[in-house]
Amino acid sequence: MTALPFEQALILAAILFAVGLAGVLARRNLLLILLSIEIMLNAAGLVFIAGGSRFHQPDGQVMFLFILAVAAAEVTIGLALLLRQDHCARTLDADAADKLRD
């Protein structure tokens, strides 16, 4: 085993987070916005794993498990809201989401 690519892993996480952020800001389709949020959450988890590996502690992996649960809960609620909007407004446009109550 050679040296661990700790800083490279951090840079990879930063690139993935930036890609996800650009996706959230640019897309209008709610489904694609949720996908981009998944990319960002995964990048945050990658930082935890890299830190846990750097200091050789299992805590980083524990934090990733918590992030996993949060991502699952978030995507469940997000997709339920998206289906509700599609049922009510017949569109996936994020700009139309302010009429979700009707």
Binding site: M1, T2, A3, L4, P5, F6, E7, Q8, A9, L10, I11, L12, A14, L16, A18, V19, G20, L21, A22, G23, L25, A26, R28, N29, L31, L32, L35, E38, I39, N42, L46, I49, G52, S53, R54, F55, H56, P58, Q61, V62, F64, L65, F66, L68, A69, A71, A72, A73, E74, V75, T76, I77, L79, A80, L82, R84, D86, C88, L92, D93
Partner: protein, 179 residues
């Protein structure tokens, strides 16, 4: 090992960019599955084999299947891709790309070189993770259970069949003396 890491990282970044920019939602989901598999390789190289397996099972498996179910329920026809192309002109990407690039540059700038690179790269066994999660983080596990229960209740509340107002009006108009 380093070469393997760089290759997996390149695949992850490329497929993530492809997933974010696709017009076809189904293609985006498939690209993202490849991206998650590449990140699982990175986790495995970082000494987290348990998390690598969970990444495949939960992210690439369960969460992406959830997205696929949503796509199936949405009845997106062939017009969806055309509409997506109308919504996403190339000019819509300029400002978000600049914002992402600025954030990335800031992050790389604040990254200091690691002065004490200790002996790392050794795998952390799942048994250590299990001990940590069920001894030191028991409260966290219970909070996660509450969160998942809340998500379940919220999804079932949001997903129930909504009675549209038109049906209500028709019912009231048809029968004057409603119960």
């Amino acid at each position: 090992m380093n070469l393997l890491f760089l290759f997996a990282a390149a695949v992850a970044v490329g497929t993530s960019i492809a997933a974010v920019t696709r017009n076809n939602v189904l293609h985006a989901i498939l690209f993202l599955i490849v991206s998650f598999a590449a990140i699982a390789v990175v986790f495995s190289l970082l000494g987290a084999p348990f998390i690598a397996a969970l990444e495949i099972i939960t992210y690439a498996g369960a969460i992406m299947v959830l997205f696929l179910f949503a796509v199936m329920l949405l009845n997106l026809g062939g017009s969806a891709i055309e509409r997506e192309r109308r919504w996403q002109p190339v000019t819509a990407w300029i400002a978000p790309a600049i914002a992402g690039a600025v954030l990335l540059a800031e992050f790389v700038l604040i990254l200091r070189p690691d002065r004490h690179p200790e002996a790392t790269g050794a795998a952390i066994a799942p048994i250590e993770v299990g001990r940590a999660i069920f001894i030191r983080y028991t409260v966290g596990v219970e909070l996660v259970a509450m969160l998942l229960l809340a998500a379940l209740l919220g999804a079932s509340r949001l997903g129930r069949r909504v009675r549209t107002t038109t049906i209500n009006h028709q019912g009231a108009g048809h029968d004057g003396t409603s119960l």
